[in-house]
């Protein structure tokens, strides 16, 4: 194993003072110099838009790139539940420390302490900022902000705007960004996709981006590059990520030498609508809040499961005594409200044993019969009406409909749910300053690895994206740029730019030239199947090795049998997808390598060899208490090299998570 001293630049001092100390001593750039410094921000989600807006407002010249037609479409918009903050408005004993502690614990003790503390610290500023921007958070009758509770916490600290919190926060960031675009401090490029990062003398100095409308490659130079391009969930083909979500920007940085950290930590969300057929393009998430009143079950008898799979029985035909409420059975203390990773694995376990309840055998029931009987349909609909409607629109089944009565017990149509890929905790490695292992290259939001450890708690993704963009990066990037004030603007005619563009062009020519038989999607689907099967919820050493072999085969298939219709000039959606798929394959391998290396189970990473007798995840703190940092070795054919950033916990005592009692 290679050794490398990894400096995560964590400031000195007690945990609660680190960020304050950092800000007090960091270098700043004066206003006159800010005007002379350019920053490229790739991505316009919560992290990207808030960073671009803040940096532009501070006086830097910002170039902001967006893959969709407008920053408002970024996938942050789809987050439903809410955003956490340690405001303690509910007087239930919340504090910055508690939010910090819950996040570290929820992440199964694999996050970097100092980063998480800072996240908890700025969480309150985020709420202030968003309210001032006009984000219409839910309010109480007295006019104060309302809160709801969420998984993994004993306090009510989640702020929300109906079931559209992500949308409202993104629109807030988008409006701040729009203000800067209008003021001319940010130049916005929509329908552009980053293809490569340009390195000059070891520092990130620009990008090559493809104009998705004209198909042309364009060069952009800057003093620093920030990527905020989200996660890599679409490696699995089917996920709750949007269709355009991809990991190409992150892979471009990785190929240029930025380390990729903890790729194996992939979050699988337990309550998604199950896959209905092989033509499906993406999965739809049903809010986690459903688990507050819904009970999850599969049949006790295998013959009932068979009948459900064959379609000869319906869920409502199975009486209470023949139902196995397996979460309540296994986790009496938390029941249906266990964390996401635990609930997902339990569903898989039942389905693996043949108890799945739909035609594919890959679904479990989420049942509201009991709560409808207890609370009445009206109350249940008030809480979940929009989700019931959404479910009915997609599946044509109304979960609020009385379907059967057996021995005086009323049974309503249950929903069918199944886990799906939702979020990726891993990402580009960054230090405390959110700078990657390449100088001048920063990564923020989901695309970095820093704050969620091995598992992310609900309502924390929005918090992290905005924390990075509004309150962390705008400070830390100055510490880097303060040294750059004498560096003049770069010309995009420099050989480094020409070379990078040539390489991208060569890749495009190569892909267009394969002229095989298979569409991008058909190969991507196959990749997804392999990833889900062998690198999904339950991983084994043998399975991961098989996956690596199969991924090599996929790459070969891609390299030899891909077919892209149309021309490389002008808009070519298939070509763009092919470029992304090329990176998804590399990403898939990276996930498998990391999963294979990590001989323990923690959070979103579950190795079947490493579990307790009751089937719970078994961490190995003695050997794996570190961040895995993977370094590219110059070719997709070579295995990456692992470096370790040891985790140092000063404030928190590492414990085993327990949801049973």
């Amino acid at each position: 194993m290679a050794t490398k001293i990894i400096d995560s630049k964590i400031p000195e001092g007690p945990i609660a003072e680190k960020w304050t100390n950092y800000k007090a001593h960091q270098k700043l750039v004066n206003p006159a110099n800010k005007r002379r410094l350019d920053i490229i921000v790739v991505g316009t989600g919560l992290a990207g838009a808030s960073a671009a807006a803040s940096l532009g407002e501070m006086g830097f010249r910002v170039f902001n790139f967006c893959i969709q037609d407008s920053p408002r479409r970024a996938h942050s918009i789809a987050a439903q539940g809410g955003i956490n903050a340690a405001k303690n408005y509910q007087n239930d004993g919340d504090s910055i420390y508690r939010l910090f502690y819950d996040t570290v614990k929820g992440g199964d003790y694999r996050a970097r302490e100092a980063n998480v503390y800072r996240l908890a610290e700025v969480s309150n500023n985020i709420i202030d900022q968003c309210v001032a921007q006009g984000v219409p958070f839910a309010r109480e009758y007295g006019g104060l902000l309302a809160n709801r509770s969420f998984g993994g916490a004993q306090v009510s600290r989640t702020f929300y705007a109906k079931g559209q919190t992500g949308q409202q926060l993104l629109l807030g960031a988008y409006s701040a960004l729009s203000r800067q675009v209008g003021a001319g401090t940010v130049k916005l490029y929509t329908r552009y996709e980053m293809e490569d990062v340009v390195i000059i003398d070891g520092r990130a100095r620009g990008i090559i981006a493809k104009n998705l409308v004209t198909g042309k490659l364009e060069r952009f130079a800057a003093h620093a590059v920030v990527i905020a391009t989200g996660g890599y969930g679409n490696t699995y083909f089917l996920s709750t990520n949007a269709m355009a979500c991809n990991c190409s920007a992150a892979m471009a940085c990785y190929r240029k030498g930025a380390w990729f950290a903890n790729p194996a930590y992939v979050q699988i969300h337990p309550t998604c609508i199950p896959v209905h057929g092989d033509k499906q393009s993406k999965l739809t998430l049903m809010s986690e809040s459903l688990r507050n009143d819904g009970r999850i079950w599969v049949p006790k008898k295998l013959e009932d499961a068979k009948a459900l799979q064959a379609g000869t029985k319906k869920g409502s035909d199975i009486p209470e005594e023949d139902r196995d409420y397996y979460l309540e059975r296994r986790y009496p203390a938390f029941g249906n409200l266990v964390p996401r990773d635990v609930a997902s694995r339990a569903a898989k376990e039942r389905c693996d044993h043949g108890f799945g309840v739909n035609n594919t055998g890959l679904a479990v029931f989420l049942d509201f019969s009991e709560s409808i009987e207890r609370l009445g349909l009206d109350v249940v609909r008030q809480r979940y009406g929009n989700l019931f409607d959404m479910y009915e629109e997609i599946t044509d089944v109304n979960p609020g409909e009385l379907a059967n009565e057996i021995n005086g017990v009323k049974y309503y149509n249950p929903m069918m749910i199944y886990p799906a890929i939702h979020y990726t905790m891993g990402g580009i490695w960054v230090d405390y300053e959110l700078q990657t292992s390449i100088k001048g290259l920063f990564a923020i939001g989901e695309c970095n690895f820093s704050d969620h450890g091995a598992n992310r708690l609900g309502a924390s993704a929005l918090m992290q994206g905005l924390a990075d963009g509004y309150f962390v990066l705008p400070y830390t990037i100055q510490n880097y740029l303060a040294d750059q004030i004498t560096v003049p603007r770069f010309s995009t005619d420099l050989p480094e730019f020409a070379e990078a563009e040539k390489a991208v062009q060569a890749k495009i020519d190569h892909l267009m030239g394969i002229q095989g038989k298979r569409s991008v999607d058909s190969i991507h689907k196959e990749l997804g199947h392999i990833m889900w099967e062998y690198v999904g919820m339950g991983r084994t050493e043998a399975g991961l090795k098989t996956a690596l072999t199969k991924l090599k085969e996929i790459r070969k298939e891609f390299e030899t049998n891909l077919f892209i219709p149309g021309k490389k000039e002008g808009m070519n959606v298939e070509l763009d997808k092919a470029i992304r798929l090329n990176d998804f394959i590399t990403m898939g391998e990276l996930i498998a390598y990391d999963a294979l290396n990590r001989n323990e189970s923690c959070g979103g990473h579950f190795r079947e060899e490493y579990q307790t007798e009751e089937g719970e995840a078994k961490r190995d703190d003695a050997n794996y208490f570190y961040v895995s940092c993977w370094e590219y070795q110059g070719s997709d054919d070579k295995a990456p090299v692992l470096y370790k950033e040891p985790l140092v916990y000063e404030a928190i005592k590492v414990q085993t998570r327990n949801y049973k009692s």
């Binding site: 408005y89 839910a138 309150f471």
Partner: protein, 251 residues
């Protein structure tokens, strides 16, 4: 289980903003009813690629009805026949065996066609840049609970804010007017105390940009409201009118 249906698809094809467009006709066979409309187009595209032809280009992203990217005019309705739903939330069980389904892009001078069914909606961004914000510096605000906002006001602002910027209002309007979009944003911000100081300036700036970009004049046909996938109300337009008139009378 849903039954499978077969139908005829008439899809608008156009190579660029200045090119002449035309309809292509495709026969779709045995499409399951639980396929979403966009997945049905995926199936069509897979077939086209298999035949070595160029797939149909259309905008889509989140596929769960919130990003506002999908934008198809299906059988005479923006986002198709379902109400309160976007194209991506439309399922094939809404159609019948033997139907002819006509798919067109948004047609409006403000939204030129880029290719096939994809249009350029950057005009909406420009309107936002003109005033769709509250001028607040990062890190400058007071505590979030310092200003109380009555629940009904917050709720009304939220209803206006639920606009996804898809452009269905413009597509549905016989005048190509963007008033529903603009009014939703103006309403959201002008209703809230934080947005009040700039309320009149905002109304003027956004309307002036909207007019400059060539959108039409609202004649209150209410087609926008009827076709809006998020059920944004034209009462927002009344509020915008009110604020705009107030601003002009003050000048």
């Amino acid at each position: 289980m849903d039954k499978n249906i077969s139908f005829t698809l008439k899809i608008w094809r156009q190579n660029g903003p200045k090119e002449q467009g035309h309809f292509d006709t495709f026969q779709m066979k045995d499409i399951p009813g639980d396929t979403s409309f966009l997945e049905m187009l995926d199936i069509l595209n897979e077939q086209l690629i298999e035949e070595g032809k160029e797939p149909v280009v259309f905008d889509h992203d989140c596929r769960e009805g919130i990003c506002g990217m999908c934008s198809l005019y299906i059988n005479g309705h923006p986002h198709g026949p379902a109400t309160g739903a976007t194209t991506c939330q439309l399922y094939m069980r809404r159609f019948n065996d033997g139907d002819v389904i006509t798919v067109e892009p948004w047609r409006s001078a403000g939204f030129p066609v880029i290719k096939d069914l994809m249009v350029d909606r950057s005009a909406y961004d420009k309107i936002m840049q003109a005033g769709g914000y509250i001028s607040i510096r990062t890190g400058a605000p007071q505590d979030a609970n310092a200003i109380l906002i009555p629940k009904p006001i917050a709720d009304e602002a939220m209803d206006a804010a639920s606009c996804i910027g898809c452009g269905a209002c413009v597509a549905a309007c016989k005048n190509g007017s963007a008033m529903l979009f603009v009014s939703a944003k103006v309403s959201q911000l002008n209703l809230l105390p934080q947005g009040k100081p700039e309320a009149l300036r905002r109304a003027k700036a956004m309307i002036s940009k909207m007019d400059e970009l060539g959108f039409g004049n609202c004649t209150n046909t209410r087609a926008c409201e009827a076709e809006c996938p998020k059920n944004v109300s034209i009462s927002n337009i009344a509020r915008l009118n009110r604020d705009f008139i107030k601003a002009k009378l003050k000048d």
